[in-house]
């Protein structure tokens, strides 16, 4: 296993963190305030700002989220590179059609 991949699996093992990645996949580069608002309104998850901040820290330490400063504001971006490691480790067989169901 590559260094840090255990952190990636651990980071993904949480529905709230997966929802955060869902939202960043829809629109990358969001503030903590925006992420809190979308979790509360779109997903009915009213977490404290501190709790969301901790989830983001877990995603960031796993390399799935990177932060960038724009002006005085900190934006969160989804980095899919660690997911490519997973797909590379267990690639789909050539002839297999990916299952469309979720």
């Amino acid at each position: 296993m590559l260094p840090g991949m255990a952190d990636v699996y651990r980071a993904l093992d949480d529905e709230t963190r997966r929802l955060v990645l869902d939202e960043l996949a829809v629109r990358d580069g969001q503030t903590l305030f925006e992420i809190c608002a979308t979790l509360a309104t779109r997903h009915q998850r009213s977490l404290t700002r501190q709790a969301v901040s901790q989830h983001l820290a877990v995603l960031e330490s796993a390399g799935l989220v990177v932060t960038e400063r724009r002006g005085r504001t900190k934006l969160h971006h989804f980095d899919r590179a660690p997911l490519a490691e997973i797909a590379g480790r267990w690639p789909l067989p050539e002839e297999t059609t990916p299952c469309a169901s979720t």
């Binding site: 629109r27 969001q30 503030t31 903590l32 305030f33 925006e34 608002a37 979308t38 309104t41 779109r42 700002r49 724009r70 002006g71 005085r72 504001t73 900190k74």
Partner: protein, 134 residues
Amino acid sequence: MRLNLITLYVDDQRAALAFYTEVLGFVLRHDLPLGEDSWLTVVSPEAPEGPELLLEPAGHPAVGPYRDALAEDGVPLLQLTVDDLPAEHERLTGLGVVFTQPPTDLGTALVAVLDDTCGNLVQLVQPRPQGVGA
């Protein structure tokens, strides 16, 4: 009991007056010299007798850390209601206003966040009738 005055700390009162009147479209209500600074308030043209926004100098040492921490997390300090958020977004973007959050559908409202160039993030909200969208 009534709500008549809301305080917003601004880096520069004259720059703030220009932004809130010429860009956002508020109207000057009071501009009274008070030492080096002024008692400076604006009101919405839609409610000239309504609540005044006090554009207060940000000189107090507590203001900097307070606003910096909130700006870092993208927390707006003022919320303004608009009838047509996409139109306002287009109008303001055309005037050079920077949005930290583009118009976003939260189900019960459309929201966006802009930088007022005076040290604050301001949220624009277009409420949506319940049951529509979401």
